[in-house]
Symmetry: C2
Subunit: 349 residues, 2 copies
């Protein structure tokens, strides 16, 4: 198992995620260098740099998807990478802030094979740690040097809007729980906010720093919107059919938790008669047993939930690429972006 787990590291990492990794990592470490109170140690644990006793760990670093997208967007339109770094750092911190609070809300005890913050230090301290991270994210934007104050203020405003969108999406997600009548439309609206807002902003904000061309910025924004769908839909597929040693979650884990993920929402909308009745029955239970999960998986196979979901992810892949093609980036930049988009749609973890 360990070997298989280690094996995933040898999967080729897209260039965009590779290229800026060290710079991002360094900037993040500076943003959380405070040693004055223990809460910062919790944040360093959350970001995967130390174990729960504070010892530095070597491990699989996070993908740092959002900051990488931001720096890529900035550079691809002719901007300097360092100019976009404050926003990149802020994006990654906001992402981690949302994870910390999500884990408390969902009672998740493990993420990426590591105990979550609240499960080690308790919900009250984890809640505060999330709030601290959110503030540090705000503060990171003040590090702007070369950028004029107007642009800085626009970054702040757009990021605030994205954050609000994200949290509203998170609220919608919670309020969907236990409902068996969530429509595909509601689902798409929810993930566009919960996940899409921050991914969309990542490349949108980067492009604004790199170029003053509003038309270009709009293309990045639209492309980012599609990319957000790709990311979350693939996430949902992994939440149902992903391999435990890669995702850290057992097969069918989203089903067991009755999450309104795409495969479930689709099965609910497409199944009929006995199957539909059975689905509703399963999801009205308090606790799902193994046979319930298996039944749902069978119905999903009947209505081809996986094929539908993956097909939708790939549609959004094409859309993300087509939209950005209009921005006339260099061939190298488009190749890198294409590689990343396909990676996100086909990743196993």
């Amino acid at each position: 198992l360990i070997d298989e787990y280690e094996g995933r590291i040898s999967t080729p990492v897209p260039r965009i995620l590779e290229k800026y990794r060290d710079e991002i990592s360094e900037a993040l470490k500076i943003s959380i260098s405070d040693q004055s109170i223990f809460v910062y140690e919790m944040l360093r644990y959350c970001l995967g740099w130390v174990d729960k006793t504070g010892e530095p760990v070597k491990g699989v670093p996070g993908k740092a998807l959002r900051p990488s997208l931001c720096l890529f967007a900035c550079e691809s339109v002719g901007g300097r990478v360092t100019n976009a770094m404050p926003t990149a750092v802020s994006l990654e911190l906001i992402h981690n802030f949302s994870l910390i609070h999500d884990e408390i809300q969902d009672f998740d005890e493990v993420r990426h094979h590591r105990p979550t913050l609240w499960s080690i230090w308790g919900a009250p301290k984890a809640l505060v740690a999330g709030d601290v991270l959110r503030m540090i994210a705000d503060r990171s934007l003040e590090a702007y040097g070369d950028i004029d104050v107007g642009t800085t203020l626009r970054q702040v405003a757009l990021l605030t809007e994205a954050c609000l969108d994200m949290i509203e999406g998170q609220y919608m997600d919670i309020s969907f729980e236990g409902k068996s009548s969530v429509t595909l439309y509601q689902y798409m609206n929810m993930i566009a906010r919960k996940t899409g807002a921050l991914i969309r902003s990542s490349i949108h904000l980067g492009s604004i720093i790199g170029s003053s061309d509003d038309e270009v910025a709009r293309m990045f924004r639209r492309s980012g919107q599609s990319l957000g769908y790709v990311f979350q839909i693939r996430d949902d597929i992994l939440g149902t059919w992903g391999k435990e040693y890669l995702t850290g979650k057992p097969v069918g884990s989203d089903i067991r938790r009755k999450k309104n993920s795409l495969p479930i929402v689709y099965a609910m909308s497409e199944s009929q008669g006995v199957a539909k009745k059975a689905l509703k029955e399963v999801f009205s239970k308090n606790e799902l047993e193994d046979r319930d999960v298996e039944l749902v998986l069978e119905i999903m196979e009947d209505v081809r939930s996986m094929e539908y979901s993956q097909g939708l992810a790939e549609e959004f892949c094409d859309k993300a690429l087509d939209t950005l093609r209009e921005a006339r980036l260099s061939r190298d930049a488009m190749d890198d972006f294409g590689e990343l988009v396909h990676f996100l749609a086909n990743r196993e973890f």
Copy 2:
């Protein structure tokens, strides 16, 4: 009891809290006018405008201390009240955000005679509601019209810093819980952050909008620092000796919850021999009984905890006033400020 409760409304309200009340209330209502998802209804409940079924309520409005201080500071140095309104709104929203999260952390089921958000809608939704409020607070600052972007950005930066201070203080407060060795120095440092940061910023930020004189802004900042101490120390006194029908908390409630409030920290540091031993024993218990609370109250009387605490609050009153006197405000402004400071040091709720 109801009569007595209603009676408190007839206590003369300081002019600073009266003067801007309607304008603040209106601006706050605009900032949370969104009806799109239910979380905004929760926020309107939190701010005391509707009951938990969404029906509008007439009730005792909140003090709105922080926004009132901000507007007062701006006006007293010659600025226009409307110019400071975005910051004033932001301050009140941040204050309420911190209350929502604090209540979750402390398992508080009631605040000011009303059930808390989490106790009605559950911790996950309340947590998200707090996060939404925090974002709306950020967004409020973008409403600046007449103010130049440099000043706006400075407001954003100072408010972020104050928020971070506040949350770090909240973290310190949580991490003190159950410790019987908190020193007066640690206590003062903690409340300077947890409560002081936002109150200090309120008048500091207002003065910056009203005047470009850095020296004046520094005086407001220092005065606000003292005012923060006045507010929290009086809060601690009410948490131990306040009347239940006014504060909504039974006498000795901070003792029962083993909070490291000033009367307790002081009693711990001043008591000796048998009394000190008894105190430590009481605070090492999991659950405190009535007789434990009574014992602690007796020891506090012996070491004159109340007199010490009130004396300290009044010292900071003088400091707040002396510092601001150097700013050479109008006589009316100083009178109003003096009235407010004394109100905060002597309030019963």
